[in-house]
Symmetry: C2
Subunit: 329 residues, 2 copies
DNA sequence: ATGAAAGCGCTAACAG
DNA sequence: CTGTTAGCGCTTTCAT
């Protein structure tokens, strides 16, 4: 494994010249450049990023923290991040945290110890204090899920308004008895979506029934099934369900099906996220579309600005209600 | 951001002593150690891995290449890799390649340029020549999917035998007309699973019908639906389908359901991988279980040995046929 | 257009 | 037990 010195020797030039060729500086004569390139090829030389990074004190590596890779919601966001990152000559690396603060800290450490230039976190279960402290000295952006009080810039949608619109849609097509299948309220988005749900009910003179609000520990398919079972057992059964994730909603769909009921005739269902799969269910799922690709784009841009030391403002992106079969009569 | 020199100065010792404390060497007196630790805390010092890695010429970073994070099949393997990696003081980073050789090359470059110590690839669509060349100078292990001819160590299961057993099971419960829903035969596992399928038919005197073999470009849900549509349109309709991935099989399940047919009474279905979801379908899916966690463990162990410069042998792990509702009468 | 040399932050061999 | 020092591989300033 050759190093820059050996290349210089082989080409009969100084290491400075090799470095210039490596970095595409045009202050090198064509002839010299050729010689250097030949030497590089001959020695099968690969410049070590460790040397370069130590010297320039940057790694051009971006870390993306996600709770789990098994939720398709993150797919498109990651693509969005990647798009911008690559165009700016950064590489991205995925870090699965399982919402485990210890694991998270491993990746934080990579930033603290200069192996990565910044972090985009999509993990809502983060250790807030640690994250906050990290952000004091390093580049951190929150994407989709966030903690307001940390002062860390975030990109997200208006969760309260999105939820409000979803529920309002159900009311407009005639529903009064609407269940909310929510995530644990330790998450900000869960609290916000509950607020939107309440506002829609209030505005339409519908009294809130606490037994219509079900919390799930997790946003997965199985949780949706489980929660739907509970809802179906209510004495005064709701005629509509708003689930705060598509996976939850799909679980609900299955459970309703098993119970021999029909969607949307017996029970209407609305999801959240517009994952690809939400269009492949039977019936297809009405859902809130988050601009995931754009969210990724924006998050990456914000992070790179932050790395450059610029001031960064949080951004709220638009969302959209996508009406499909699960709420059509 | 303090460096080791400033810590040394603050503590009134040499950088060597600070380094010793950092690396937990017990050749430092308790008193000195205390002083150093205080200085570290006071200056909020974080040792730079760039310096250390340059010096030790290792990064203790392992790269895991996966085609896409959206296939749950990889989840458990990754957990297995992580388990071993962490125990040996390595960190793992996920790299999504989208089976795109260019993207792949970005991550290969990270290894070539010393930012990572090795790679476990689960990407079957790899550029074979590039991979082979990479493995000549760097630590590379193939996991699950592999190319025999590269000479790169791999851990996998006996795909031919697994397929043979799946098809034999279908024959044993009375099926003669068995379709194979296969991946593109550019993949070794697809060729091997086809061989197993053929062997089972031959051994039981069943003539192979070419129209019973459907190739899909991809292992996803939608491909399964699409392929099943084709199969249902065959004039002499099969009574059983062996799909080489659970996602394909689940797509098939849905399509059969849409056609108003019943699984397993009208058509039996066998999948492959035993992803979590395969137990949540209706009916639950008979499938081949790969020892995914173990596969991850083994892959990580092999890679770390390889990094240490040891010789590494390829390994074939056991698999298991899990019989569930989709083939029960 | 090119080279000499300093230095990024760290570890480890050697000396004491 | 601790300090001095060389050097990992690179970039970049300053000369020439």
């Amino acid at each position: 494994m050759a190093n820059i010195q050996q290349v210089a020797k082989q080409a009969g030039v100084s290491v400075a010249t090799v470095s210039r060729v490596l970095n595409g500086q045009n202050t090198v004569s064509a002839k010299t450049k050729m010689r250097v390139e030949e030497a590089i090829k001959k020695l099968n030389y690969e410049p070590s990023l460790l040397g370069r990074n130590l010297r320039t004190s940057e790694s051009r590596l971006l870390l993306i923290l996600i709770p789990t890779i098994s939720n398709p919601f993150y797919l498109e966001i990651i693509k969005g991040i990647e798009q911008v990152a690559i165009s700016q000559n950064y590489n991205i690396l995925l870090c699965e945290t399982d919402s485990n603060p210890q694991k998270e800290n491993i990746y934080f450490d990579l930033v603290r110890k200069k192996m990565a230039d910044g972090i985009i976190t999509m993990d809502p279960a983060v250790n807030v204090e640690t994250l906050k402290k990290l952000a004091e000295n390093y580049a951190v952006i929150q994407c989709s899920e966030y903690e307001e009080c940390t002062g860390i810039p975030y990109v997200t949608i208006d969760n309260e308004e999105a939820s409000y619109r979803a529920v309002k849609h159900l009311i407009q097509i005639g529903h009064h008895k609407i269940a909310l299948m929510n995530a644990d309220e330790k998450y900000l988005f869960a609290r916000l979506r509950k607020m939107g749900y309440k506002r829609a009910l209030e505005e339409n003179g519908i009294t809130l029934k606490n037994e219509y609000i079900i919390s799930t520990s997790n946003l997965g398919f199985e949780n949706g099934q489980y929660a739907m079972k509970k809802i179906l057992n209510l004495q005064d059964r709701p005629t509509a369900v708003f689930a705060v994730s598509d996976l939850l909603a799909i679980g609900a769909l299955k459970e309703i099906n098993i119970a021999g009921l029909h969607v949307p005739n017996d029970i209407a269902v609305v999801g959240f996220d517009k994952i690809d799969f939400s269009n492949m269910t039977n019936p297809t799922l009405t859902t809130i579309a988050q601009p995931m690709r754009k969210m990724g784009n924006v998050a990456a841009r914000m992070l790179i600005e932050k790395i450059k030391g610029e001031e960064v403002e949080s951004i709220i992106l638009d969302h959209e209600l996508v009406i499909r079969e699960s709420t059509s009569r």
